[in-house]
Symmetry: D2
Subunit: 357 residues, 4 copies
């Protein structure tokens, strides 16, 4: 009798249509098909493993996800502590603030007449519109808030926590910044200078010379110290960009000072970029292992999909499959509301790396 190849173990199970299935069941079925459908199913599984283990979960977000309608999903993940630390582009925080302040983004068309839009001062993000005038008002609002701060550098983490608090007190509305403020989830924004949040800061300085200093080098030290304190980490990346690298950099930098750090134990990325042009956004998780960004035995998955397709399904599935895991997980106790962030009750520095032995 012919021996079966060791490669032919688990058959593909053709997806069968069941109209009443819920999101988690849908993704469980998709684990047994192929290509990116399978990857999305595996992503659900990997995230559950993160929740079941004792790890600090970083999430990075790049791309116009807040303008694109995903800000309340991220707020949900923060509030229910499916993540412990957010790294974001400035634009996602700005668009979140825009809506938390009661304004909107609008359904638009990718085939718009951009000259006509420009005449009406409408900004287009692919198929989505926003009013420039309302944006300008945000800039003023942020600038005014900046003038109330001390004339000293703030890490982006400290600044964004204060901004979230001010936003919460002013509006009482849920969103990414306010959810993070209330849940004690730190937000880092390493490229804050490249966003309208940065523009608001610059307008604050324009009003009050000496204000609007963001200490992004302090963010590097602080994020590395967070990993040194809590060396078991997981990385979730939406869209690549600076957040993806910043999360990996924290791990690499921490490992320099602490032998206990050995790269992320879990990694999940939802990206549309591809590896073969050499850019960081599209780089594979395999490549990350060469740098020590990812533990060699890490559970990991890349989903090649637009986050606006993948995240609504994935978050809905998690919300059904994993509330108990999320509630009971051993998560780090972080207080990002101080100048020096507290981790498990003790402050961490943004000036010196903590050395261990």
């Amino acid at each position: 009798m012919k021996k079966r190849s060791r490669f032919l173990q688990v058959p593909i199970e053709p997806f069968t249509v069941d109209p009443e299935v819920k999101a988690d069941e849908l993704l469980e079925k998709m684990e047994r098909i192929s290509f990116q459908g399978r990857s999305l199913g595996v992503a659900h599984r990997v995230w559950q493993k993160m929740l079941a283990d004792d790890v600090t979960i970083f999430m990075g977000m790049a791309g116009a996800l807040s303008a694109g309608g995903l800000r309340m999903v991220v707020a949900y993940l923060i509030e229910h502590r499916y993540i412990d630390c957010l790294v974001s582009t400035g634009a996602n925080l700005y668009h979140d603030l825009h809506e938390t302040r009661g304004r909107h983004h609008y359904l638009g068309s990718a085939h718009a007449n951009d000259a006509a839009l420009a005449e009406d001062r409408i900004d287009r993000v692919y198929d989505t519109y926003a009013s420039e005038e309302e944006f300008s008002d945000n800039d003023v609002w942020i600038g005014d808030f900046v003038t109330t701060l001390d004339e000293r550098p703030y890490t982006s983490r400290e600044f964004l926590n204060l901004l979230g608090g001010h936003l919460w007190k002013t509006t009482g509305q849920n969103g990414i910044l306010t959810a993070a403020y209330r849940a004690g989830v730190p937000i880092f924004c390493p490229a804050i200078a490249d966003s309208s949040i940065g523009m608001g800061l610059s307008q604050g300085r324009h009003k009050k010379p000496g204000s609007g200093h963001i200490d992004i080098i302090g963010d590097i030290v602080e994020s590395a110290n967070l990993v040194i304190r809590r060396p078991r980490t997981a990385s979730i990346v939406l869209g690549g960009g600076t957040p993806k690298n910043f999360i990996n950099q924290a791990s690499v930098q921490a490992e320099f000072f602490s032998p206990a750090v050995g790269g992320h134990r879990y990694a999940l990325q939802i990206v549309t970029d591809v590896p073969h042009f050499g850019g960081a956004s599209g780089s594979t998780l395999e490549e990350a292992q060469s740098w020590g960004k990812l533990a060699a035995d890490a559970a990991q998955v890349t989903v090649h999909a637009d986050a606006t397709v993948a995240l609504p399904i994935l978050a809905t599935a998690l919300a059904r499959s994993s509330p108990a895991l999320a509630a009971k997980r051993r998560r780090p106790d972080i207080d990002p509301s101080q100048k020096d962030m507290l981790v498990d009750g003790a402050p961490i520095s943004s000036d010196r790396f903590e050395e261990t032995e």
Copy 2:
């Protein structure tokens, strides 16, 4: 008071996480977000419009969707007549036949050692494996069937209907070919020569000289005549490739002979290719309007996503939202089991275009 811009009408509604939501509700929520998430929501809406209208629904499928676990989804769409005519690559039909005959594709890894796989005679399709030996057995099986046919040319449509019938009689199993056979849904395969179905045909001819003639020019005439008879059409495209163009070509060719044909009334494509390299797979539905492939006022949507992500969700949503629409729709009455296909009871030629005035 400031007048609101005409461009700012309908706000984005941030997606909110509801764990108990079902697939159709999920896609309805996604219609109010942005980017490809919105497109997927709109795709659900556009398909419903097709079902509610009096149109013949063509579906094209390219890419390794059968091997990748979507064959029972396509069988479901055929059986419940969410579509009326399938245009497929040969590979999708071959991989369907493979599983209908009781064999499997297997979960594999995209990072496999291909030399080791070759040694075990395992064929890899990205993250999916199949046994070459089992494939060879299919070729023989198809070749044997071919030798039972008359020594005359068959359109791919006629051949595939007979193949589906033989498969059904032999196995009694559901799948694309057998579902189409039982539902009277014709399948065209214009590039049948470029597939293992074609290889099976060539082996039939090897065994019995003069056999294995496929009249793919007859397919052109027949598909155009189908549109001439039933000028209101809709196009659903998974993955581009030859099926996408063949469906459009039927419309363009038909219009040449009948003024009543005016391009598809609805169009929905789920593709991963992009337009800017000029290939047909990635071409936009707007471009299709310049050719008259698509009516100028057609309801249409492109979803830039892997079909293994998009189709399971979309089909599940439709199965919940639209069974009544599908059951009651005015669909064409097609009998693909004859040499000359019957449409609404009357035969159509594969030799001459039907001229109308």
Copy 3:
């Protein structure tokens, strides 16, 4: 002293700007940089190796390369025998015929108003226009030619050779079809039914019942027999699609009948598709090894680039670096002008696979 890692052998040499450099020198410099720039440099090297070795060079072309301005590059490669056999989509041959007959494609805009174009009966291919009226005239011209042929099936190879001959006699102009006719380079078009060439054939049949039969299963047998006769092969693929698979299929099918066939010795593909959606167009050359499409030790390279960027440079470089190699190479002697194609003087069948032992 620290030992150097075995992985750090050959340094990247930063590309330095030299205004007077020619295309082959440019690509030689690019072999020492990274990412797709390096791949393009390596492609030049791999093609040279094909020319230096005793292999039959197949080239596949998909995507709108003829309409897009590359038809005279392909004609050059045929005329100077940088390739031995062409596999093409029908559209590329049709657009070639269009220009060889003295018509044009036109510079257009990707942001055109497609409704306005439709009104003027202008067909758009991304940023390129053509006149529908002139296209219709081609269809009639092809249809008329078809009515002059015998009422028997023709392989696409035989038909396209005759069409090229008729075109050459009528116009005396250079192009893909006429260059192939004159150079004795066979052209296969497995998906001819999915193109305007196919539409012309169908119009021939409409005029003269019984005409317009293309025996694409015969193409499968014939192409495999070509490989059985000449088992050492190389594959060049532009854009994927049916030609990519057909070239590989010939090798796989031939191996079934002849142990001397062991997959392509060289492979070079210029594609824009990616592997992770599972489609054949984007599949890797590594994956091809699992199927035996490619020899395990083959020199191979994938260039992820638009062929309209890569091919003009690559062909110009080859024309400077390799005319002697191309002139002196041991190339197969093929005569595609007969019903049974002659290879090295002896006919090969389109009905039976040649069995060797």
Copy 4:
């Protein structure tokens, strides 16, 4: 007589192979073909227009272009003033510094065994390797330099000019940082915290508390003031990312304070991202017009290609076609070596926006 459509004006001219053609001639021929080949030809034309006009040319670079072998191309563009201001990711400057200090990146394989690389402490960037040990030595070198600076915030522009000067004095080698230092071309790095340059800065602070402060909000003010002073601008973008947005943001922010600013007069981007996922890297130049980032009548072109393919050819072509244009152009006189950057002899602030009327 039939009137010709207004859409059919300029025929495609099929590219003809001429082995002796040089890079500029090659691109001129490519202007008459289609798709991204044409776009690359047009890019050459648009850059020439920038040089002929009185505009300040910004160039952004993202992606691993320095590691990938393009740093000497960028140095050439700086030295010969094909550009006036560079905005870069930190990684590109770090990898430039690495090689200027005499170290290398290495030819590697995209299919490497990353576990084996990790063991040898080799970092992989797709098909390129680097030694972690040598990288660590750079970090120390940067950190030591940081401790020699004053304990005050530096804009990234001031810091990078000082770093370039230190590097020049230490090595006397050409590269991006040293060429910019010598040519008086400012470099902004808004996301410096997300790079190894940032890691070096953080290590400087670790050694000397209070050091390593980068004032990235000052960069926003300063870059906008540069545009206010010199309102006619052009934008060249390689690879998207934060540099793309930062260049546009400078224009948008400047327009807020000065009515003379009206968006870039010219724009050229070489990107691999696509628009339909909504991210900024792939966003179209049309969309940029809705925001006022680009003048409505701007000459602009997007090339969808890997920069390692497109830039070597484009820069070589420019170096041949345009040295006279580059030498004679009316370029801004910038001195980036002071705390307050001098533009045409007068300092500009990083604290207050310059208001004009």
